[in-house]
């Protein structure tokens, strides 16, 4: 009987990690930023191709661009302590896969157009993906420089409750199809290997100026390491919400984190 129970629990856990009938995504991309109100320059489009890849395999979701991309999409809704008028429960934290593309800095993501007076926010101060309101995000990508700076993880990224965050340790260049190539490649390998393979350099270019980061979380070292080595978007491994996160304005519970990053020493973050 105990064996059966254990097997049943194992199956349920496996399903929680592997199966998700209708994975969802949310993308905010900031392209035409010059003169839009947040003092930023224009950027290349790194998410159109990603959206195509997602839609091609029947993931569903929304891609907001320019003035339609609002900081409140990633802002925790449950309390104004996280900022004005957040509604992540309908947007980034209502999706399994949350993607931000724009300007950044250490622990920071920045939009090109202000909304409700907000241009930027920190991960710890405003973004609480995977917990509180919404609590659906399992994987986040920050296509922005410095956001996951390794020196800031304890004070910033560790306030998220996703299973995995992918971003950059310092300044970064991203080609138009690099993020979609990453996503497509998770059909064959883990998010970590695909992120490193595609975001250190663009194809046919050999400078290695990027420092991609993969951050993973678990209840202990074993689980965090397992998430790091096996989480895969297209294979749908660890794409479901992590669960058991903090409730609104509750202190962040301790957990185990595992972070691996490539360091080519560019610096440039503040």
């Amino acid at each position: 009987m105990r064996v059966i129970k254990a097997a049943t629990v194992g199956v349920v856990l496996a399903m929680a990690q592997y199966a998700w009938a209708n994975p969802t995504y949310l993308i905010d991309d900031n392209l035409s930023n010059n003169g839009a109100g947040c003092g930023e320059v224009d950027l290349n489009d790194v998410t159109s191709s990603l959206e195509n890849s997602l839609n091609n395999i029947s993931w569903s979701g929304e891609r907001w661009v320019n003035g339609d991309a609002w900081p409140q999409d990633f802002m925790e809704e449950c309390s104004s302590n996280f900022g004005p008028n957040g509604f992540d429960q309908y947007e980034a934290d209502n999706a399994n896969f949350s993607v931000f593309s724009g300007h950044g800095n250490t622990g920071l993501i920045a939009w090109g157009t202000p909304h409700d007076g907000v241009c930027a926010m920190t991960l710890a101060g405003g973004v609480r993906l995977g917990s509180m309101s919404g609590a659906m995000s399992a994987t986040s990508v920050y296509a922005s420089c410095c956001t996951l700076n390794a020196n800031s993880l304890t004070s910033q990224a560790n306030f998220e409750w996703t299973r995995q965050q992918l971003g950059f340790h310092d300044t970064c260049e991203i080609g138009d199809t690099d993020v979609s190539d990453f996503f497509d490649n998770t059909y064959e390998t883990s998010n970590k290997n695909a992120w490193f393979n595609h975001l250190e350099d663009r194809p046919g270019w050999f400078t290695g100026d990027n420092s991609p980061v993969v951050w993973s979380a678990g209840v202990n070292s074993t689980e965090a390491g397992n998430v790091e080595n096996t989480a895969s978007l297209r294979q749908q491994i660890y794409v479901t919400p992590r669960g058991s996160g903090p409730s609104c304005n509750q202190g962040q519970p301790a957990f185990w984190y595992s972070a691996t990053y490539i360091d080519h020493g560019n610096g440039g973050c503040s």
Binding site: C38, N66, L108, C119, G204, D209, E228, F255, W256
Partner: protein, 338 residues
């Protein structure tokens, strides 16, 4: 007869790295050069050669590279001809996860760039190896790999100089979420570019990733080529290639860049041959990697994604040419209401 030309770069080449990656995790503002340009030097411009590789050739390359990464040289050739055959005629990237003996590998190939990557997943996934061969041990692995690639005729030994390899690291850290953990070196990542008359070629080369314990974790190799003929040890352009005398010093470009882009972050200067967009030509250029920073007007300094810009050595006033994907051109009007 050797004229005053590209080989002169060898004489003034230096490696100054004021902010390269360091094992202890620290870094300062970056100003890096593997070589600097001097005015009055004869430089060659080459016609780019589109990489074309037959299935048999790619299979043979795979056999050698997989043999290195899997530490197994006894794999049947049919393994690779079958693998390549499954993707025959592919115009865009393909990837597969394959097992070679007990080793699990990831193979990926971009045919349009002849860019081949092989990862040993078993090695890559070992996050806490106890042994550390150190930089010297890792460099020994690099030298061994390059020698084996040369002996297999996958590269020309004369086109690679391991002493010029740029070293980065894979670092790993783990702990309780409230603890600040000191990252440990997990891998030594060598970026080694193919050299043309002593100058790096940005679009061709290799990345050799040596795990902390000394095993080869990954090997990436390939890229573009040029139409040339070697005369007295010097690559001379053929086809549409030609020579010119440089009129611009790197020092002047560095000064110009600092003046024109005072808000740049993460700046890295290099002298490199690059495939110039839309021209089909491979030119020596002073290449700058940098990211623009600005005040968002709401109390935060924000940093744009970086770009590579190529400065002319033939025209001091020429605008730099972007080597990166351009900003999106379409302006969209906000239509969202909730």
């Amino acid at each position: 007869m050797i004229r005053q030309r590209d080989v002169r770069w060898l004489g003034i080449a230096f490696f100054a790295c004021l902010g390269c990656a360091k094992p202890d995790g620290g870094s300062e503002p970056v100003m890096t050069s593997s070589a600097l340009a001097v005015a009055g030097t004869s430089l060659a411009v080459f016609e780019a050669k589109q990489p074309t590789r037959t299935s048999d050739d790619l299979s043979a390359r795979l056999r050698t590279i997989v043999g290195l990464v899997a530490a197994n040289s006894s794999v049947a050739p049919s393994t690779f001809s079958d693998l390549v055959g499954r993707h025959a005629g592919a115009a865009a990237r393909w990837a597969e996860k394959i097992a070679i003996g007990a080793a699990n590998l990831h193979v990926e190939y971009y045919p349009q760039f002849d860019d081949l990557r092989v990862n040993n997943l078993d090695v890559e996934d070992q996050l806490n190896p106890s042994a550390d061969v150190g930089e010297a041990g890792a460099r020994a692995v690099l030298s061994s790999v390059v020698a084996k690639l040369a002996s297999a005729n996958i590269i020309a030994a004369s086109q690679y100089d391991t002493s010029t390899a740029e070293l980065g690291y894979t670092k790993h850290m783990e702990g309780v979420s409230t603890e600040t953990v000191v990252p440990q070196v997990l891998q030594y990542r060598f970026t080694l570019r193919r050299r043309i008359n002593g100058i790096d070629f940005a679009n061709a080369g290799m990345r050799v990733v040596v795990h902390r314990d000394g095993r080869l974790a990954a090997l990436r190799i390939g890229g573009g080529d040029v139409k040339s003929i070697v005369t007295a040890g010097v690559e001379e352009p053929t086809g549409k290639g030609y020579r010119f005398n440089s009129v611009v010093d790197s020092a002047a470009i560095i000064s110009r860049f600092a003046k024109e882009t005072p808000d740049a972050r993460g700046v890295r200067h290099r002298l490199m041959y690059v495939i110039m967009p839309g021209t089909g030509m491979v030119e020596p250029r002073h290449v700058v990697f940098s990211a623009h920073s600005s005040d968002d007007g709401h109390g935060d300094i924000v940093i744009a994604r970086a770009t590579h810009a190529a400065y002319s050595l033939a025209d001091a006033s020429a605008a730099p040419v972007s080597l990166s994907d351009p900003p999106a051109s379409t302006k969209t009007k906000a239509t969202r209401t909730q």
